[in-house]
Amino acid sequence: MIRSGTVDIAFWMFSAGSVVAAWLVFRTDSMVRAAYWLLASFAGVGALMVLLNARFLGLVLVLMMAGEMTIMAVFMVMFMMNPAGLNPMTMVHQHRTAKIAGVFAFAGLALVGLVADFPDRPADARRDPTSDLGRELLGDSMLVFETAGVTLLATMIGAIAIASKRGRYGDAEQGSAPPALEEKPPEPAGMEH
């Protein structure tokens, strides 16, 4: 348990901000806004991590997500039928199911968090968590760290292989189904909302 007035205020600010931003991701009708609300949510969690003294991780989270969310925004602009993203739009389906599932997930997890009795052993504030992490990564858990690194490398190669135009056996489109967009006429009004 960490207590102090300023920290508490900061905690409520960042957590409320993070949750509201997360909610707005799916409420906004602008692609770029959605991506950057998500970034705001991550930044809030990053700030909470810094408050919890996991400074390195919190900052790295922001660093990583700034890039990723920008790429996401560009991807959304790229893949949605829009004049280069100058006109945004919204689309939602199976709204009720999703809402119920979301509420259940929240209620279940929150219940566990509130009811379960977790040991109260706060971290020693005098230790430097960053150097702890560094020693852990390059000490006992080096194998885990290396595995993560190799996984990322494999991911990069795999992602390029999936996304590239030329596959091992010729062009990626070969033998593919006809484009879905041209397969059937566009649906009239009343797609699920």
């Binding site: 770029v32 950057y36 990053g46 400074r55 969310m69 790429i71 925004a73 560009v74 100058l86």
Partner: protein
């Protein structure tokens, strides 16, 4: 005054950033005039940035067709705030730092990553083609800047065995990093100039896009954006002076004076580069960044690591 107190922090950070931005503007006018006419009028150079700012403050901001107004207003604020966060981590003299935190270099890196968000947001939210293209261009290049920037900063942190900027400055007591890691500073300055879309790396706001992300802004919004952008440049120079040029350490003069001097040298270099080097070609620069700059930065990390062992 305690520099980490709210008032002290605002005074210090705002002071450094605005003084730096003014110096950049004066140097820019002076060097421009020196190149164009072969002589320089100091009074003119000292006054012109102020006059120009006054004019922009009197000019009304322009509207575009259905912009994302909030995001448009937020972008310069975000850009400036990131520059401020970056400067806050740097000690400007012995014990003069707003937040010489243990992970200062990481904070700087995170702030510089957010620059990408601010620039894209600014370009996108005007709802106009030229700014949008500027935003796209910045993203295309920013990923190539972030890598070498992060790598050379890691290399600079190695001899200090700490991520704190203060510790990195202290580790250069005997030998500056610019000597110890000769690859570091040039790579850092290229990446830093890119993040401030400055000079030859000014593809986001270039004249071939009629101003790019600034093509649709006028009046006070333009002041805000141009200031924020210069703040980033100043933040880059301040951090460069601390991490590669030994920070506030130096004989005779007091620490802050050394810091100011070193920052000034870097800023002058960056401004000179803007007047001297033609704007890069996007495609070619990305190729060079990934095939030359990033490998060089990796070499820098490996060599520095080997030496630090």
């Amino acid at each position: 005054m305690r520099w980490s107190s709210p008032l002290g922090a605002v005074v210090l950070v705002a002071g450094v950033l605005s003084a730096g931005a003014y110096v950049v503007a004066v140097l820019d006018v002076a060097l421009g005039r020196l190149t164009a006419a072969g002589h320089l009028r100091l009074r003119h150079a000292l006054r012109q940035p102020l006059d120009e700012t006054a004019l922009l403050l009197l000019t009304r901001p322009s509207r575009t067709e259905r912009p994302d107004a909030q995001a448009w207003a937020l972008a310069p604020a975000l850009l400036g705030a990131m520059a401020a966060a970056a400067v806050a981590t740097v000690p400007l003299g012995r014990g003069i730092a707003v937040a010489d935190v243990a992970d200062g270099i990481v904070l700087f890196g995170a702030a510089m990553a957010m620059v990408m968000v601010a620039v894209y947001l600014h370009g996108w939210s005007a709802n106009s083609p030229m700014p949008l293209l500027g935003g796209y261009r910045f993203i295309a290049l920013a990923l190539s800047y972030e890598m070498p920037l992060a790598l050379v900063l890691i290399a600079a942190a190695l001899p200090a065995e700490s991520l704190s900027v203060g510790a990195i400055v202290a580790s250069q007591h005997d030998l500056w990093n610019v000597v110890r890691q000769p690859l570091g500073l040039p790579l850092y300055l290229i990446a830093g100039a890119g993040l401030a879309f400055w000079g030859p790396l000014d593809t986001a706001d270039g004249p071939d896009l009629a101003g790019g992300t600034t093509a649709e802004v006028s009046g006070p919004s333009r002041v805000a954006w141009e200031l924020a952008r210069r703040f980033v440049l100043v933040a880059v120079a301040v951090m460069g002076a601390a991490v590669f040029l030994g920070g506030w350490q130096g004989p005779m003069l007091p620490g802050p004076a050394w810091m100011a001097l070193k920052t000034l040298v870097l800023l002058a270099g960056l401004v000179w580069m803007a007047h001297r080097v033609a704007r890069v070609r996007l495609e070619r620069f990305v190729v060079v960044a990934w095939t030359v700059l990033i490998p060089l930065a990796l070499v820098d990390v490996f060599v520095s690591g080997a030496i630090a062992l």
